[in-house]
């Protein structure tokens, strides 16, 4: 989905609040509840097997935009875990409201049931020129919007395969396993000549890509 989470290239933000090599990271959790965001997600995903990490990502994406902007990182994962556990029927909205003493606002419902991967194609090879499929997906997708329809070159095909995020991100265990590809794009192809003359490599599942067929001169 083209949500607020898909931040690559979004303009209007100021300086990054960081000084290089500052040691602020050494207190990993800044507040005494923050560890619960990940540890409760692990309880629900790993121990109770109620959802995959892709579903947790999708639940964060489903946060209402105003709520997304107004919450801190760890809050969003608390809300995501609570949302998925309510949707799974493990806990109820009432139980959360009662424990909190006020309404516990969850993420919005999904807009899609997900979609299957493309199968039956030959894998791509290193050096292949590929184009990111010009698709608008209502559900979970791991293709950043800024590469949609853009051409790049494959630099690596993963030796491992993973369940297709657009399927497993909706809890659909029929998800087909696929490799992903490190696709290199030129910054000027993504953002125009006015910008930096650098490179961006995006890790893209096979189903997000098509091979670019070189135009051939037809001779009679």
């Amino acid at each position: 989905m083209d949500g607020f989470h898909d931040l690559g290239g979004f303009q209007g933000f100021g300086k990054i609040p960081h000084t290089i090599n500052s040691l602020s990271y050494k207190t990993v959790f800044k507040e005494d509840w923050e560890h619960l965001a990940y540890s409760l997600m692990f309880v629900a995903a790993d121990h109770l097997k109620q959802f995959s990490i892709d579903e947790a990502r999708h639940a964060v994406e489903r946060l209402d935009v105003r709520q997304h902007v107004g919450t801190t990182y760890y809050e969003r994962y608390v809300i995501a875990t609570a949302t998925l556990l309510v949707e799974a029927g493990v806990i109820t909205q009432d139980e959360l409201d009662q424990a909190l003493g006020s309404p516990f606002k969850l993420a919005n419902p999904p807009h899609s049931q997900g979609r299957p991967a493309i199968t039956g194609r030959a894998p791509f090879e290193v050096g292949d020129r590929v184009v990111v499929r010009d698709e608008y997906v209502a559900g979970h997708v791991r293709m950043p919007g800024y590469v949609r329809g853009k051409e790049g070159v494959i630099r690596h095909r993963t030796t491992e395969q993973w369940p297709f995020p657009d399927t497993i991100g909706h809890g659909d265990k029929r998800a087909i396993h696929q490799p992903s590809y490190h696709v290199e794009f030129r910054v000027k192809d993504l953002w125009g000549d006015a910008n930096d003359n650098g490179l961006v490599v995006v890790d893209l599942f096979e189903s997000y890509l098509d091979k670019v067929v070189a135009e051939q001169t037809v001779t009679a």
Binding site: Q11, I16, H35, S39, V43, P144, P165, H182, V200
Partner: protein
């Protein structure tokens, strides 16, 4: 025309986290010691000092360097750095004309066992939005200006590969041993926003 006002929450984030904890605990769904064990991993065992050991070894041991670049997962596993978010590790080799930098524009994916959990600024909207569009400017603002002959290569962690940057061993470090070299490699060096330098 009235627009609906979003429901205002009167609770704090900490209260909401504890409410979720309390509901799960009351249903006996949290095993004893589970949260403590995972928190120990997150706070102490997943650390950039792990990545520093990997990079320092790659600087002094050509065979290890070759393995790290060919199969980062196997190389890091030699140190025991495996587990969640460290299942497919790829080391990104800097050269005198190439600077690699890591981001996750969609969320916060990071090589946990080798770099530690991502810091706040890395997960923040500014870094995620700006790096893929104006990498060189972002590096300069952070304090790492690069000459024009150095290409900035940004790696967006959008699937399951988990990266670490293998920087160029800095000038002046020739006399340093592996343990001394480790101290030059910070969390920011592993992410790629800083260069290692000899004090």
């Amino acid at each position: 025309m009235n627009t609906p006002t979003p429901q205002q929450s009167t609770s704090t984030p900490g209260e909401r986290a504890r409410a979720l904890f309390q509901v799960l605990k009351s249903k006996d769904l949290i095993p004893d010691g589970y949260i403590e064990a995972i928190t120990q991993l997150m706070e102490h065992e997943w650390s950039p000092e792990n990545g520093a050991r990997v990079v320092a070894k790659a600087w002094v041991d050509p065979q290890f360097r070759e393995l790290l670049l060919k199969d980062g997962t196997a190389a890091c596993a030699q140190f025991g750095y495996t587990g969640p978010q460290g299942e497919y590790i790829v080391a990104l080799e800097d050269t005198p004309t190439l600077k690699n930098v890591i981001v996750c524009s969609l969320c916060s994916c990071t090589n946990w066992p080798v770099l530690g959990l991502p810091p706040e600024w890395y997960k923040g909207f500014e870094f995620r939005a700006r790096l893929v569009r104006e990498g060189r400017t972002v590096l300069r603002e952070l304090g790492t200006p690069l000459p024009s002959e150095v290409t900035v290569k940004v790696w967006d962690t959008s699937a399951e590969s988990r990266y670490l940057v293998l920087p160029v061993r800095p000038e002046g470090s020739e006399h340093m041993n592996e343990e001394e070299l480790q101290k030059l490699i910070t969390k920011d060096v592993l992410i790629g926003v800083a260069l290692p330098c000899v004090p």
